[in-house]
């Protein structure tokens, strides 16, 4: 028995993901992070939206919540504000985080609400059959870009840094040990943390773009990951094809939203209330 298996809900196995899908690896890394931090399963809630990534909570043996498309961060905000001492993990895919959910993403980042987000970036809308997503690289063929994608992709981590997120990291499913470490670190961060995980959807994205098995897509992801210091030395045209990995931003000083609420708003309101009543 492994320590991390106590966070796994084996009763709902086997998982519905395609053979070789990175989602299962991320599930394992998160469970290992919970185990490393010795958290109580009941003190954790995992929230996800719609998509292949959205099926992840079903397999955690913690409190789990599967909600509407793109809105996982909003439900998680309500839970965190109601019970700030609990650990709230949000798992989102391409569309859930950056298309329909894009607005909630930047507001959660701006607010610095203490949610720990795992953004699974597989460059496609897998669940619905392989349509283009805001994270699909240019020129790739998908179900809704049969002539090649002309839209440039978001660089999700960089977008979040601009939205004032206080912890942003990027890793891939290929490098398991760094992935596990960075997820653990992000869980220890008090404010809003995001780990963008580059994952492989070989069935939908890879298959239409000459990488139809998990192993060749693994090689492709490996070739595109690069350390941040080296990334900065590249020319812009070359940067377009690479993902800088590692912890990209860490701000430990910023106060988390519910902490700020209970430290500032409630005492101020109560003080004013006492003053008003005293003045009567």
């Amino acid at each position: 028995m492994r320590d991390y298996e106590k966070y796994i809900r084996y009763r709902t196995f086997p998982t519905p993901w395609c053979p070789g899908c990175g989602d299962g690896v991320i599930l394992k890394a998160i469970a290992m992070a919970f185990s490393d931090l010795k958290l109580e399963p009941d003190d954790i809630v995992v929230v996800a939206g719609i998509g292949c990534s959205g099926r992840t909570p079903t397999f955690f043996n913690t409190n789990t919540l599967h909600v509407t498309h793109g809105r996982a961060l909003t439900f998680a905000t309500g839970i965190k504000l109601a019970r700030p001492e609990k650990m709230v993990v949000v798992i989102s895919g391409d569309g859930d985080a950056l298309a329909i959910g894009g607005n909630h993403l930047i507001h959660a980042a701006r607010r610095n609400i203490g949610l720990n987000m795992i953004l699974i970036n597989n460059g496609i809308y897998g669940m619905t059959g392989g349509q283009v997503s805001p994270l699909t690289p240019q020129k790739f063929v998908t179900e809704t870009t049969p002539y090649g994608n002309i839209e440039p992709k978001f660089m999700a981590s960089e977008l979040l840094i601009a939205a004032r997120a206080s912890f942003v990291a990027r890793e891939t499913v290929v490098r398991f040990h760094p992935l596990r470490q960075v997820i653990k670190k992000s869980f220890q961060h008090k404010g809003f943390s995001v780990v963008e995980v580059i994952s492989n959807c070989h069935i939908n994205l890879g298959r239409r773009n000459k990488m139809k098995d998990p192993i060749s897509m693994t090689r492709w992801i490996e070739s595109r990951s690069i350390a941040k210091a080296q990334y900065e030395k590249l020319a812009p045209e070359e940067q377009n094809h690479k993902y800088p990995v590692g912890i990209l931003k860490e701000d430990k000083e910023r106060l988390e939203y519910s902490e700020l609420y209970y430290k500032h708003i409630v005492p101020t309101a109560q003080k004013q209330d006492r003053e008003n009543k005293g003045a009567k």
Binding site: D42, T58, L65, T74, F75, A76, G78, A82, H107
Partner: protein, 378 residues
């Protein structure tokens, strides 16, 4: 001894929510309901409770549902355009059997419509706005004291039946400042759903007509709450028998208790020959019309629906055994009149007084319609 105050309808609703135990509000401002959010932003922090203004209505209801699952009593307030946005999230709350209260202050529609004018055009949307088969309870007070009592009842019903409850108001009664004696807290009865022992993570299966044996998060059970159709553990399934059972359970938990849920008020109905069916601001004009008509010798009566959904079909069918003329007065182009047409037998003469131009009906207009009994737009 409760004291008399002059309060705006929105504030009455907000105070009632706080009295009912509401300890979480997430909302987005929209005319004519913003005062509720503003009041909550002042009052909830004073009590150590949670208030947050979210980035849109969808986020507001999402945060409310999350907080409800974390054990809070939640409220949000909006109007037409925001209510339309909330429909998907509302469906999720019905599917996963989550208590919450939404106040929809109706204004002229559709779309941006008439933000500062009243309407009663969301009656059908309140029932059917979200997709799929779903039960819902919709309350619609008309007078100041009713706003207070029905809002508290909304919280109690949502806790009792593990279902969202919608409180409809309209721009007139929400914005009007009226005098009201707020009841003492000790005279108000609050219902909070009881803690249950969950066996084998069964949070949904029970006898038909009963409530789910569900607990919230963080009660020691690793439960799964899902918007997908699910089995008794909450885990997703498509098995036809399971799905059928879950649909039936969700409907029947409400339809077994119509006597408890449905409320209405009747004025001058004992010997009435013509009945007015109305609600909200229109019912207030209708009440004045009934009083004037009675002085003129017309045997007019008013049936004011305070619960609009589930529709008070059984009691109305009783009335239609004796009363054979009914006038539906609603500030829209015809919505609840179709329910009256469905429920009243063929020998009842049915008419409707309708308009949606932002001007409420006056008592004299209603009497003119009763006398002519020819006024109908559609």
């Amino acid at each position: 001894m409760s004291k008399r105050e002059v309060l705006q309808g929105n504030i009455i609703a907000a105070k009632a929510a706080v009295a009912a135990g509401c300890n979480f509000f997430a909302g987005y401002p929209i005319t004519p309901s913003s005062e509720i959010a503003q009041y909550m932003s002042l009052e909830l922090p004073r009590l150590g409770h949670d208030f947050i203004q979210m980035e849109d209505e969808i986020a507001s209801l999402g945060a409310c549902i999350g907080a409800s699952l974390a054990g809070k009593k939640v409220l949000t307030a909006t109007s037409g355009p925001g209510f339309s946005l909330m429909q998907e999230q509302l469906g999720m709350a019905v599917m996963a059997e989550i208590p919450l209260v939404i106040i929809n202050v109706m204004r002229g529609g559709p779309s941006t419509g008439l933000p500062t004018k009243p309407a009663q055009s969301d009656m059908m949307q309140a029932r059917w706005g979200t997709h799929g088969d779903h039960p819902i309870i919709v309350l619609y007070p008309a007078f100041a004291r009713e706003i207070y009592c029905e809002t508290i009842r909304a919280f109690n019903l949502s806790e009792q039946f593990w279902n969202p409850v919608i409180v409809l108001l309209d721009e007139v009664i929400a914005k009007a400042h009226e005098d009201i004696s707020i009841p003492d807290q000790k005279d108000i009865s609050i219902y909070t759903s009881k803690e249950t022992e969950v066996e084998d993570l069964n949070i949904y299966d029970r006898a038909i007509g009963e409530n789910p044996p569900r607990v919230d998060f963080f009660k020691g059970y690793p439960i799964h709450i899902d918007g997908l159709e699910h089995d008794k553990h909450g885990w997703p399934t498509t098995d036809p028998d399971t799905v059928d059972r879950m649909q039936t359970l969700r409907m029947q938990k409400i339809y077994h208790y119509l006597d408890e849920i449905i409320t209405y008020k009747e004025y001058y109905m004992d010997d009435a020959e013509i009945m007015i069916f109305s609600f909200g601001v229109s019912a207030r004009s209708a009440l004045a019309a009934v009083k004037i008509a009675r002085e003129q010798g017309i045997k007019l009566g008013l049936f004011q629906a305070k619960t609009v959904w589930p529709f008070p079909k059984i009691v109305l069918r009783e009335r239609f055994k004796r009363i054979k003329k009914v006038l539906t007065v609603e500030l829209n182009m015809g919505q609840m009149k179709y329910e009256i047409e469905r429920v009243a037998p063929d020998d009842v003469e049915k008419k409707a007084l309708l308009r949606a131009n932002g001007i409420p009906f006056t008592p004299l207009e209603i009497i003119a319609a009763v006398k002519e009994f020819k006024y109908e737009r559609l």
